[in-house]
Assembly symmetry: D2
Homo-oligomer: 135 residues x 4
């Protein structure tokens, strides 16, 4: 398993008139969590696209346990539970400033070769970086 | 079961640099689908909040079958599969202009009394409107 | 001058915890106003990109006179005040359901040839459609 | 004058199919710039709302000099050019990673007492913090 922890602050734009983080914005938080967890590993998602590989989302799930609030510094614990091959799964736990679990989710993405628009295997550079975390 | 069909057009703002609708934006489309399907039934979500009831999201799931594209007029088939009580479930099927299924999803929401912040039953006016669809 | 009038409904996602339409969302409304006003003229922005021409924004200005509110059906009066050449200007007036002017704005865009990334003239098909409105 | 400098990274969600930061998202960046520049001063916008004061936007202007790109760490230089009284102005300069100026803008906001919905003066705590920067 690969674990990482990232933080981000709730923007005013991300709240709605209920005074909560709008439910659709957790997908943005998950994106930040994915990208920053890969960066911590030593890999940038931008490079992936530069290599001609896209990583579109196949599935996304969220459970909303407590409201997220404006200006809170959220902590997202992100896990890659299985070694990716054609697909890559991320699992998230989002905590507020008082360490309450406010949201859990998971996303499945698929490696696509831009040239052929067909699924492909995770590039070797990512595989090498991730392989130490999976035995 | 209650069924409704609504249409919306993909905005430029909703695309990303992959040239697809950004995955997080389907939550916004689902919101439009929920609100417009209730309006077709004769009920406005705005009234619900005016009655002191909130309807936050508890769970949301999406599967992304094909990319959504800029300027497409999407058709969303929305279903309320079970008669709501404390919770309300919506199921969505999103079709593009050539009638391909591009996205499926479901959302579970919960009725909350604003005054007490406790779950409550669906208000009578909604119950009356929906009851003809469930036997 | 070319005038058009379009309508759109405020989404929950577009409100913030002040209970107003978040100020950044008027740029999205302006985009819808531009695209739909061109469609009424007989031209789709999507075609423009298919012709290898981009139309990025150079300048954008907004004044916020009154708050926009959730679920309101807004009316946007959009004007192209001068015949476009290398640049194209749009002027907007946004009205709420009780016909109060809530927002005014203007956007200047520039025609860019994707191949060279250099400014270019408005394509002939747009010129022909617009020329009857400017003498 | 009060100056501050903040950084933020462009999210995938914020790009559009042109491959640029969507023009409406600079308003979100300005919001982050305002809030973080006040936090550096020792004041949180959240406190302001807790004091019963809202700060809605009256005017917003942007010029787009160069495209913002995905994953870039942008630097925003934010300036409060005049001592706020009933209104507060912020001026922004947004730079990309190679220190090119990509966007300039300004926003005028107004202090509103929530109870009366009337304009009011900047609260004393903000005045005290800002006064050392204006003579």
């Amino acid at each position: 398993m690969y674990h990482a922890e990232i933080q981000l602050r709730v923007r005013y734009a991300e709240t709605d008139q209920m005074g909560y983080v709008y439910y659709g914005n957790y997908a943005l938080y998950y994106e930040v969590a994915r990208v920053e967890s890969l960066r911590k590993l030593g890999f940038s998602y931008k490079e992936l696209e530069a290599m001609g590989i896209m990583l579109p989302v196949l599935e996304n799930k969220s459970k909303f346990h407590r409201p997220g609030k404006y200006d809170e510094l959220l902590t997202i614990k992100v896990t890659i539970p299985e070694k990716p091959a054609l697909k890559m799964k991320f699992v998230y736990e989002v905590f507020n400033e008082t360490n309450e679990l406010i949201n859990t989710g998971e996303t499945v993405l698929v490696f696509i070769k831009k040239e052929t628009m067909k699924p492909c295997r995770m590039p070797k550079v990512m595989d090498d970086l991730l392989s130490t975390y999976f035995h």
